[in-house]
């Protein structure tokens, strides 16, 4: 049993160690100042920020509705929300092209409006939001479901309308769970590769995000690819630690403790 665990852990850790072991840390840091890297970093941060804002603004009310109301078609809605989770990224990419591409379902409408999505940062944002949103929305549903309905009822009888109740009671109690979901969604979005490269392409300085830069540098400059990878490992690791800390510091039992709680 212990041996199996040791093998499993070693297997998980080895690629991470290898990223840092091939070349000296100094070389890695030097590589990070190359334009191909800084361009990708800026695009990654910018598209992630916009995509995550969309996920939060649209995902939070959606999750609250699904967590607190029972209506026909609710299960179907939950399945739809979770769909990108199991969809192969390549399929998501094809789907996005078929929907929003120049010859896609909405392509004609978008062209008529003068909107061209192919090879733009908007396309990156769409791909990232599509693939990363379920990580936030699922967690948000579970978190909202865990908020004691009596507290909501109490706020209402104390004179607070639905909006005030949401901001004064529900949101503060759900804060940690939502932050955890958002961290996961952000991490997933930052690493998005398949759907982005298909739908938005990999143009340096335009649509090339960090993972796409790694892929492109693989053929030309392996050290740079390693440097970008190292950067992403650090970011992901930091997110994971932040997530753990957030979830463990829970003074009340009102917010969800489980990260991957099934949303019914």
């Amino acid at each position: 049993m212990f041996a199996a665990t040791a093998v499993a852990l070693a297997f998980l850790l080895l690629p991470i160690v290898a990223v840092f072991a091939r070349v000296s840390p100094g070389t890695l840091v030097d590589q990070l100042s190359r334009p191909v890297v800084t361009d990708a970093l800026v695009i990654s941060l910018k598209t992630s920020a916009i995509a995550q804002t969309l996920v939060l603004v649209l995902g939070t009310p959606t999750a609250y509705l699904l967590a607190t109301r029972r209506f026909r078609g609710r299960s179907l809605a939950v399945v739809l929300i979770e769909l990108p989770l199991v969809l192969p990224p390549a399929v998501a990419g094809i789907g996005l092209i078929a929907a929003f591409g120049r010859l896609g379902l909405l392509g004609g409408t978008l062209s008529a409006l003068g909107i061209q999505l192919g090879l733009t940062q908007t396309a990156v944002v769409i791909a990232v939001a599509y693939v990363a949103s379920p990580f936030y929305v699922r967690q948000a549903i579970a978190t909202f479901e865990a908020v004691d309905p009596n507290l909501v009822a109490a706020a209402r009888t104390l004179g607070a309308g639905p909006v005030r109740t949401f901001f004064r009671v529900v949101l503060p109690l759900a804060r940690r769970g939502l932050a955890a979901g958002e961290a996961l969604s952000f991490a997933r979005g930052l690493g998005e590769f398949g759907a982005t490269i298909m739908f938005a392409g990999s143009l340096q300085g335009v649509t090339q995000t960090l993972p796409l830069a790694i892929y492109q540098q693989l053929d030309t400059d392996f050290t740079t690819a390693l440097a970008v990878s190292a950067l992403m490992v650090v970011v992901s690791g930091a997110l994971l630690v932040a997530l753990r800390v957030t979830l463990q510091w829970q003074p009340s039992k009102q917010t969800s403790r489980f990260l991957f709680a099934p949303s019914r």
Partner: protein, 344 residues
């Protein structure tokens, strides 16, 4: 004083809650759990919409299903105290009380409920009695016209309960608001309320003052719920004014009530005397049950003791004098005039 009128039908899982109730003083709804008691409060507070009916406070129409009027909870002036108090865990005691206080003086309220020193404390750190006071202060801060209390004493341990019950009774008298409270404990209801309604499976079995429920229980359930002994038997009229009842156990009892057929014999524990010997010629009490002394339970300065099928309540001193703790045979006697008959 303002009066709350409620008349509605609300289908619940296995029965429909059908209720017509006027509340001007303190009314307690009692009944077994699952009788729909809490749902009554939720309908009045606007948290649940009934199928039919209305809720009015004097001239104010809170709910009228026929006219499609249904004010949201925040527009009904109710102070609802939840069973587990439902204090906001992310707010301090002060934050909780201030939540619904529109311009009202929160500090005065905190002082009045002796929680001023806890103003900066989180609810999780409070004792049961303190939580209850915070919940009451929070509900009153909203300046309600009606007070609704859901099992206000159920979350307290036995030790705290007696004291809190006394305080709550005083508070309700002082406030003089129409108050509807629900409880599964008849003694709590009797201590707090002017009127008690017995709710079983969504229907009011009887509504009356505590004294009325005890002196004239309408049926066997009300009788046993108010703490009476309930014995089953068959009644037949005898010559004169008495009714004789043959119990299932074979004994004969007498009652001044005039009923025939299958009946429940109702007698309250405090109307039953216990003796070690019985001399019929020297006793005005007609009813005698001979039996083995069973369980003894101390209730404050009294002792509840089983003699055969009958529970009697005697003073602790009497229990000691009669050596009831040793068991053995004893006689439970009670007067025919204190023996009520109810249909089964």
């Amino acid at each position: 004083m303002a009066a709350l009128q409620a008349d509605f039908t609300l289908p619940l899982r296995s029965f429909a809650l059908e209720l017509e109730l006027d509340v001007s003083r303190t009314v307690a709804l009692v009944g077994p759990s699952g009788a729909g008691k809490s749902s009554v409060l939720r309908v009045i507070a606007g948290l649940v919409e009934p199928q039919r009916g209305h809720v009015r406070l004097d001239g104010e129409r809170w709910l009228d299903m026929e006219r499609r009027v249904s004010l949201p909870p925040e527009q009904r002036r109710v102070g609802l105290v939840f069973q587990d108090y439902a204090l906001f865990p992310h707010l301090t005691v002060r934050g909780n009380v201030a939540f619904g206080a529109r311009g009202r003086d929160v500090d005065t309220l905190l002082e009045r409920f002796r929680i001023g020193h806890l103003a900066a404390t989180q609810p999780q750190e409070l004792s049961g009695g303190e939580r209850q006071r915070v919940a009451l202060a929070r509900a009153l801060a909203r300046d309600p016209a009606v007070l609704l209390l859901d099992e206000p004493l159920a979350a307290l341990d036995a030790h705290t309960k007696a004291e809190v019950r006394h305080e709550l009774a005083e508070l309700l008298r002082e406030l003089a608001l129409p108050t509807l409270l629900v409880t599964h404990d008849y003694e709590d209801a009797a201590a707090l309320a002017d009127e008690i309604g017995v709710l079983v499976e969504g229907r009011l079995r009887q509504l009356g003052t505590p004294a009325e429920l005890v002196s004239r229980p309408r049926d066997a359930f009300v009788a046993s719920f108010t703490g009476a002994n309930l014995l089953r038997g068959r009644a037949r009229r005898e010559d004169g004014s008495l009714t004789a009842i043959r119990l299932e156990s074979g004994e004969d009892l007498y009652s001044a009530d005039e009923v025939e057929g299958e009946v429940g014999v109702v007698v309250y524990p405090w109307e039953v005397s216990v003796a070690r010997t019985h001399a019929p010629e020297a006793d005005s009490a007609l009813n005698v049950v001979r039996g083995r002394v069973g369980s003894l339970v101390e209730v404050a300065n009294r002792v509840r003791v089983r003699v055969g099928p009958v529970t009697a309540e005697v003073t602790a001193a009497s229990a000691e004098r009669l050596e009831l703790a040793d068991g053995g045979i004893a006689f439970a006697t009670f007067k025919a005039t204190g023996t009520r008959l109810v249909p089964l």
